[in-house]
């Protein structure tokens, strides 16, 4: 009190903020992704761990180097590069050469994320775009799926390929759910993915809208297509990257609509497109492409579904309303 000239901090209200942080949100996503990584490692062996490690480390390294080089503030502390690295690894087959992981990380972090302005600015999902780039460039390595290294595992073609008409034996639905099947590292266990998603829902990191709209619309589509065959539909939902995509990739904040209706539209778009590509396209898997396509449409969806604000007048131009 004695110093009459003390000046205090002035800043705009509010003068209270909750303790959340961007890094905290990312940490929650990382925690939610762990079960799927553990299952991937159990199913495919330690090589899976190597792929995950290389992807995460290189994603963080690229982010660090890029921001340093461009003299931007170094943002690796926000953990978003870790999330991108994890998601990339989960979308790769276990036998991928490790140098391809590096290319994937580079595309995801430098080309897709940083070139467009960094966290929160990119219009396409970095991990998905990287996966597609790798898929297009190295189709062979990207579609050579290892067999699960577990007793009783069904070997041969992936379930999705079998569903699509390839020779092979389908695992049971239970095996599908717990990951005893071929596929990418992170997509093998639907149960682990669901567990992680439940955590994110409970922590209110994601809303139910995109996953439910995505999975729900795919289910309805497949049911109609199969004339009500529930078993077939269940296989379709558990196969490939559908759950990983619906729960963790389509819910990416930056590349999906921010508003409720927009999220539903986005999810339905993803679900329907995935089915269309799987059933009528020449590609075996449609999740990545459909999410990417919907990413691109996100600004349009947001514009078309702008939430109705409180007390909005119908028809009459807002300009006529005087400020109260």
């Amino acid at each position: 009190m004695e110093d009459k000239k003390t000046l205090y901090t002035v800043s705009a209200s509010p003068h209270a903020k909750n303790p959340s942080s961007a890094a905290g949100v990312m940490l929650d996503v990382i925690i939610a992704l762990l079960p799927a990584g553990v299952m991937g490692t159990i199913v495919f062996g330690l090589k899976a761990l190597a792929v995950i490690g290389v992807c995460v480390a290189s994603a963080v390294a690229f982010e660090f180097l890029y921001t340093k080089l461009m003299k931007k503030s170094v943002t690796v502390g926000d953990l978003s590069a870790v999330v991108t690295g994890l998601l990339l690894a989960y979308n790769l087959p276990v036998d991928i050469p490790l140098w391809m992981c590096l290319i994937g990380s580079f595309v995801a972090i430098v080309v897709v994320k940083q070139f467009f302005g960094g966290l929160g600015q990119n219009f396409a999902n970095p991990a998905i775009t990287a996966r597609i780039v790798l898929l297009v460039s190295f189709a062979g390595s990207m579609t050579k799926f290892a067999d699960p290294k577990l007793p009783d595992a069904v070997t041969g073609a992936t379930p999705l390929a079998v569903l699509g008409g390839a020779e092979g034996e389908l695992p049971t639905l239970l095996q599908m759910l717990f990951g005893v099947k071929g596929g990418c590292i992170g997509e093998v266990s639907g149960a682990a993915l669901l567990l992680g998603a439940l955590y994110l829902l409970a922590r209110r990191v994601i809303s139910w809208r995109i996953p439910v709209a995505f999975i729900g619309s795919a289910a309805i589509f497949m049911l109609i297509y199969s004339k009500g065959d529930f078993e077939y539909t269940a296989y379709e939902l558990l196969a490939g990257g559908l759950l990983l995509g619906a729960l963790f990739m389509a819910t990416d904040y930056t590349t999906s609509p921010i508003n409720k209706t927009g999220k539903l539209v986005f999810g339905i778009g993803c679900g329907v497109l995935t089915c269309v590509i799987r059933l009528y396209g020449s590609l075996p898997e449609g999740v990545s492409y459909s999410i990417l396509l919907m990413n691109i449409l996100t600004p349009l969806i947001e514009k078309a579904t702008m939430p109705k604000y409180f007390g909005k007048l119908k028809k009459k131009k807002t300009k006529e309303g005087k400020a109260a």
């Binding site: 000046l7 205090y8 901090t9 209200s13 003068h15 961007a22 508003n259």
Partner: protein
């Protein structure tokens, strides 16, 4: 039927969207209001309300008594200013206010006597025109923080009939407890104010709305209102900004106040509970608004408490009365932490609309480091007006007035829920203000 109804606590008719749960910090809730003795000087700015400033009606050297008019205006949107202590006018000069603006002010050196002005007598009020006149003369402005002249609210136009008075005792801002104390200490004044307003304005019903984290206040008010068929107590979910006017109207009546409109447009008057209690006292005694209660609180205040202070007392005197600081605060706030103004110095006078003075240490002052927006949507989820603050920020930085208007920028009430919730620590309210000024500028053209 009516009797069984009144004995029950009403529930909100409609639930608003969004809002936040902030720690209450109502550490002064159980402390009885303490009257502060007259300070040496009071500084009475001529602009303590929303509207036109007053012109001083006294000059240096004049003797004034408590309740005497020292400033008035002939403009419609204005209320007179009264001397809050007795003594001699020291000077008429420009002073800096808490919000940083300058205003002319009358400075009075107190003689310590607190002598009441002789001309004070209860107003004669027989109809609603008399009431409006009397309330204007009383100098009353919304005591809940907005500072809008109360007589304007009470001016009921024939083409806009009013059926409901909502008495706002939500007090949803953290720390502040003056309205709560009003309910506990002056419940009969509240009730008699309610009855006077109800009768003069011919209102069908009165709803006294309190957040449900104040069960004592609800109990006291209910014990009085239970004997009345047209006065109801409503318990609202404790959720900031429950006390915001439009939220209040929605919760209490289910009516939506359209953009650019006032509660009166949907047949409702909302009045702060302390304003209602003051109205009752004024109608009985005729003593204008010369003092008010403030909560002095925060983790840097030695003795947090509720104090009854003469208007115009410097915040420095008030803080000193409360024992000063325990440690140098990081932030000083005039008002609540959500909507109050951070001030640079304690040397500003207390205005009619100031309900709190807070001194907060760095860990409690909301000084979060700003990082990039992650588009998590929490600002949108928290916004009671269903706006998308992060997108509004984007268009504000582009200066796109048309899109901003279409997005509803102007309905933002600057409640701060968005910024409170943002993990990236973005100063969203600042961007909302920028966006509003862009829309306003464009509308002028």
């Amino acid at each position: 039927m009516a009797h069984t109804r009144t004995s029950a606590l009403l529930k909100a008719v409609k639930k608003g969207k969004g809002g936040i749960h902030a720690p209450y910090h109502k550490i002064t809730a159980e402390l009885e209001t303490v009257r502060m003795p007259a300070p040496e000087f009071v500084t009475l700015p001529m602009l303590q309300h929303i509207g036109a400033p007053c012109t001083p009606t006294v000059k240096k050297g004049d003797y004034v008594a408590v309740g005497q008019v020292v400033g008035d205006s002939d403009k419609f949107l204005s209320v007179p200013i009264h001397a809050s202590v007795s003594g001699v006018v020291e000077s008429v000069q420009d002073v800096k206010l808490a919000n940083g603006t300058m205003a002319p002010a009358v400075v009075i050196r107190s003689d310590g006597e607190m002598k009441l002005f002789e001309g004070i007598e209860p107003p004669v009020v027989n109809n609603k025109e008399d009431l409006v006149k009397a309330i204007r003369a009383s100098g009353l402005v919304g005591l809940g923080g907005a500072g809008f002249p109360s007589f304007v609210k009470l001016t009921v136009k024939d083409d806009k009939p009013i059926d409901t008075l909502v008495v706002n005792a939500a007090e949803c801002e953290p720390y502040i407890t003056v309205d709560y104390r009003e309910c506990i200490e002056n419940s009969w004044n509240i009730y008699s104010g309610v009855k006077a307003l109800q009768e003069l304005l011919q209102l069908q019903r009165v709803i006294i709305a309190v957040e449900d984290n104040k069960p004592e206040a609800i109990k006291v008010l209910k014990s009085i209102a239970d004997k009345d068929d047209s006065v109801f107590v409503m318990g609202l979910k404790s959720r900031y900004p429950q006390g915001a006017e439009k939220m209040m109207v929605l919760s209490a009546t289910g009516r939506v106040v359209p953009e650019g409109k006032l509660p009166a447009d949907v047949g409702v008057i909302v009045m702060n509970v302390a304003s209602v209690a003051f109205t009752a006292r004024y109608l009985k005694l005729g003593k204008p608004l010369v003092s008010r209660s403030v909560t002095v609180s925060g983790d840097c205040i030695k003795n947090p408490m509720n104090v009854r202070v003469p208007i115009g007392t410097s915040l420095r005197d008030i803080v000193e009365f409360c024992g000063g600081f325990t440690e140098e605060p990081a932030k000083l706030i005039c008002g609540g932490p959500m909507m109050g103004t951070a001030i640079t110095s304690l040397d500003v006078p207390l205005l009619k609309s100031n309900n709190a003075v807070l001194a907060l240490s760095a860990k409690n002052a909301g000084l979060k480091k700003e990082t990039a927006c992650i588009r998590c949507g929490r600002c949108h989820a928290a916004c009671p007006m269903n706006l998308v603050p992060t997108n509004i920020e984007k268009y504000a930085l582009k200066g796109d007035a048309e899109t901003l208007a279409a997005m509803g920028t102007m309905v933002c009430m600057e409640c701060g829920s968005c910024a409170y919730s943002c993990p990236a620590g973005k100063p969203l309210v600042q961007y909302m203000r920028l966006a509003k000024s862009i829309v306003k500028e464009a509308a002028k053209k």
